[in-house]
């Protein structure tokens, strides 16, 4: 038990100086120079890093809640509609997606305060995208979108992409929630398309993190 506590305390201490996230666009802040440009607000890239981790966490949490909603709808044919569970899941999915969207809304202008870091852009340009894709059997369509942005060094475009995607998910979630709030089953094709958007956005975010975490510069 003591050992366990020690590990946790150690991890907290380490985390305060060296933040890590892994699953959604993490380390993308490395594309920016640590020093803010002249006349810019005095941000530091650690601030970007924290926003990225926050955004990732909220996004993934929202996806988890949306999956719970789908599960409730799926099971309703056998176990009946659990209106409360459906409402809770959707409320949480909406709330977390709003938080994710707010975070990306801060992240996009914050990133604009920084200049790109040339060695990282160079590494992004030379990264072996096809090799990495084939080795890890990544989804070609989604990976191609990631490659298009990162190879050309458009990291801000990536952040904008997340903002747009979370906006769209948020809108669609609200439509579904407005149906569920009055006990009307949302259109199933709407749920399908939203689920696809969640999945594709999450894989997009993950691939972005994968590339940044595999960059050599």
């Amino acid at each position: 038990m003591k050992y366990f506590k020690f590990i946790i305390i150690l991890s907290l201490v380490v985390s305060s100086v060296n933040l890590h996230g892994y699953f959604f666009a993490n380390e993308i802040e490395n594309a920016f120079t640590p020093k803010p440009c002249e006349g810019c607000k005095n941000y530091d890239t650690l601030f970007l890093k924290q926003l990225i981790i926050d955004g990732a966490g909220f996004f993934i949490q929202s996806n988890s809640q949306y999956q719970l909603f789908l599960k409730e709808v799926e099971f309703s044919g056998i176990y009946g509609i659990n209106q409360e569970a459906i409402k809770n899941a959707l409320d949480n999915a909406v709330k977390n997606m709003e938080l994710a969207n707010d975070t990306y809304n801060k992240l996009v202008p914050a990133a604009n305060q920084f200049e790109y870091n040339p060695p990282v852009l160079e590494a992004l340009y030379h990264f072996d995208y096809p090799g990495y894709r084939d080795l890890n059997q990544l989804n070609p369509t989604i990976f191609q979108q990631v490659e298009q942005l990162l190879k050309s060094g458009d990291v801000r475009g990536c952040l904008q992409w997340f903002y747009n995607a979370t906006n769209e998910i948020q809108e669609r979630l609200k439509i579904i929630k407005s149906c569920a709030d009055i006990c009307i089953m949302p259109e199933i094709p709407e749920c399908w398309r939203l689920n696809q958007l969640y999945m594709e956005t999450q894989i997009f975010g993950q691939y972005t993190a994968e590339i940044f975490m595999n960059l050599k510069y």
């Binding site: 050992y3 366990f4 946790i8 991890s11 907290l12 985390s15 933040l19 890590h20 996230g21 892994y22 699953f23 993490n26 924290q50 981790i53 926050d54 990732a56 966490g57 993934i60 949490q61 996806n63 988890s64 809640q65 999956q67 719970l68 789908l70 599960k71 709808v73 799926e74 099971f75 309703s76 044919g77 056998i78 176990y79 009946g80 509609i81 659990n82 890890n136 990544l138 989804n139 070609p140 369509t141 989604i142 149906c179 006990c183 009307i184 089953m185 259109e187 199933i188 094709p189 749920c191 399908w192 689920n195 696809q196 999945m199 594709e200 999450q202 894989i203 993950q206 994968e210 975490m213």
Partner: protein
Amino acid sequence: MKKQGCYFNQEALKMAVNNAVISMNPGWSETAAIIILADIGATTESCPYKSGKYLAIIGDFHGCRGGSLCPPLFKFLSLQAKMRITGETAIKLTIPPPGIIIISKSKPGGNHMIKKKLLTAMIFVALITLNLNGYFAFNETGKAFNLPPCEGCKNYAALDLGQLLVTGAGYFIQSNSDYQLLLKTIEMSDIYGMNSEDMADSIDNAIKHMEMANETYYQILQVSSLLEYNPTVLEKLKNFDYDNYQYVNSLNPAIFQQVERLLKTGNVRGCYQKFYIATNEILVRLRSIKTSMDTLTIPRIPDCWRLNQLYLEMELFGQYAAEVFMNIR
């Protein structure tokens, strides 16, 4: 205790369906429901009506677009005892054994003919296992098999299949939700601290639900092997316009191609097999992550990535298969 509602056997239902007068409520979407006015007769003493005209709703409700009947239908599916249809009529419902239906008698006479009857008294045909509302993984793929089951096969095997498909999908999705929670906890651990209890709960739940999904897909394989394919459905699968559907809905090409390859050739069992193998693989990977966590080691992040990809791709695979089946009529 006296049972509520009226009960009919499968044969009575079949006759009712065959002899039915079918009409559509104009407020519903094309696929919402089919209304049947039929004399199906009561077979138990608990039923207050020994014979007469009954209104039945059969078919699938997948296209239910929020018309006045949707909420009652959902309540019906929730197996609650009471259902209010128009504010006038509450119908007692109970869940019968497979193949039995529950009814409420339509009110006799009246000038509003079918419409009035539809709104005031209905028979809900509880072919629950045939008409299960499931939407997100392989649902309705049971259509690909013949009813009744082949000679000598287990009775109601096809009925079981519908229920198993919904169950398997539900467990799979729940496990995905659990895994997402785990990822989120790891993701935010550097900011908010590591919550090892949450992480342990998430991985345990993800494993438990994936085990249930895996078991269910094993049963699905067993049950589907007892059934013969339905040639009409296979024909429709062959002729379905996959390219157009993929284009119109912007489906992920790589994943949809896998679905198309199996369904176009009528290999519905192949879909189940693929899912069974995937649930096996996910289980192995989840257990490996759990082993790391049990020894207070953070799991290898690339392992988490690949597992996440597998979850997401398989869920889309199952969803696309369900979409195709729900779009072949």
